[in-house]
Symmetry: C2
Subunit: 358 residues, 2 copies
Amino acid sequence: MEKLIHHSDLDRFVYNVFLSMGCTENHARQATKTLLDADLRGIDSHGVARLSGYIRLWEVNRINTQPNIQVIHETPSTAVVDGGSGLGLVVAPHAMSVAVDKAKSVGTGWVSVCNSNHFGIAASHAMIALEEDMIGMVMTNASALVAPTFSKERMLGTNPICVAVPAGEEPAFIADLATTTAANGKLEILQRKGADAPLGWMQDQEGHPIQDAHALKNGGALLPLGGDREHGSHKGYALGSIVDIFSGVLSGANFGPWVPPFPAYVPMPDNQPGKGIGHFFGAMRIDAFRTKEAFKRDMDLWIRRFRESVPIDQEQKVLIPGDPERACQAEREKNGIPIVDAVWTDLQSIAQKFSIKL
Amino acid sequence: MEKLIHHSDLDRFVYNVFLSMGCTENHARQATKTLLDADLRGIDSHGVARLSGYIRLWEVNRINTQPNIQVIHETPSTAVVDGGSGLGLVVAPHAMSVAVDKAKSVGTGWVSVCNSNHFGIAASHAMIALEEDMIGMVMTNASALVAPTFSKERMLGTNPICVAVPAGEEPAFIADLATTTAANGKLEILQRKGADAPLGWMQDQEGHPIQDAHALKNGGALLPLGGDREHGSHKGYALGSIVDIFSGVLSGANFGPWVPPFPAYVPMPDNQPGKGIGHFFGAMRIDAFRTKEAFKRDMDLWIRRFRESVPIDQEQKVLIPGDPERACQAEREKNGIPIVDAVWTDLQSIAQKFSIKL
């Protein structure tokens, strides 16, 4: 069962919750936008469903809602930002704006971030670059749920990579992908349905293939993109590792099995080598390479030619990365955002806790 | 059947072939090094086995061995390089050195290349950055062999991504991966054995799964990393697309189905929008983010911790990207490079053509 809620109603509620947590108006607005972007784009696992998780992290003092976000090292094209243990939802747009400013000045900007927390969906931050006619790149590490090829142990997060590329008349190319076979959100859908997962998504605690959608609770692990060695899981493992190194090792954040967990009740790993979780942001000015006109003309041609690829099935045309999320957003802006019962109950408790009308 | 040839003998032979094709000594040395790097690292499909292919492209005037390689657009952190239709084996190290120089000056350097040709293995170029305590990134597009999710048509090359990261006491992290389930070289091994490919590697000309290792000759296509929709092939498709856009659209090279084919007998696609094939190079100075000492200490910790992941099988420890190639290189430097009969015959004809002793 689910309710349909208009996004502006959800927006007002979430904004007031962040204000009540002590965020400035500006921060509350940014954090709300990132959460709502997820719900509008159909990434339900990363939207208001996570609001109570952020609140619990704030309650145990693992999130500071009045963070001192600062550049602690820089060159003309790079910076390391210390997120001051703030909401990733706020630290990320800040860091992206540092990358954009550097790109304005020297062509590209690259920012690695330490001492942050979960930042919502990567696409929300990468799209900031589009407004400036720049390519945006966003990565983040996350707590370990993924087993490298040959490993029984969970060592990496679902570590997404997002690249957003502006076009001319066509809508932007926006690829936002976990470096695993399937994102956690897809597992959650199966769990709610009581359905099994396909082989190739997970292994059990002994490293054997398993289809039980609840396997992560019993010490199982998600598998890197590729699924098994024969289908290139070592490539997904390598991609997740690159995200971990750029986000964690380059910034002085935690990495690998030391990345802080999202659930506030899970204890911090011992002997952490760094501070908080890490992100990585890039902005490349289009006209640092070619004129905007030439690039956009070719990008439109790229998009149109790929859309016109001969489809296997006439009923399912070839898509451009970002198409499904764009279609979802148009539909949800019109008809409302579906909120499942469990999330609605969650939001009601939050409303009660902060005496905010839902 | 195969012969074992000492790498210095192969090196001398290949160097003399490139000189005979009109390369300068410096270019001949660079091109030889890249080919030999492939053979030493065990990427046999990209080493001397391809020498005759480069020669045929030169014979039909699609490769200029005395290219005018020039920067045609730049900012402090970016450049577009026109490869002058040169050997990619020579254009690539040139472009990487431009990226490294920019990184020395402003922290990072990013170079997109048009009007080039096949550049061998990406790792050979990315590793140039390691010598300067920089992270190296290399991508290239290639002629279309890969079908996007839902497409019958081949639209992308195997479009590899390589990232090389320096460490301290540990050897460097070097991930070099085609954005497909399996690289072309692995198919060639199965073809020689007369063996079938696993499901998930290829589809036939109607878009149905096929295991025949010769399926590409009959209009089939390689599949993006992930293999099928359920296992995330849309992610492999997105990654291959990012490589195509960074290499082709950003530089003014060809992209998608218009990328020039490697075999000289295959006609050029009609209505090409750009020049030659495209590459993308990045160099990030470590100390543009943290002190080298802090980064290398953490990178060593990263590598050691991942090596120590609890393995599924005690006989197969968890590997770090670059480990298998490094082991292969040590073995082949000692015992020689195995050359299969077909390649040996090929090299003999080249020796005869240029009157060079093999």
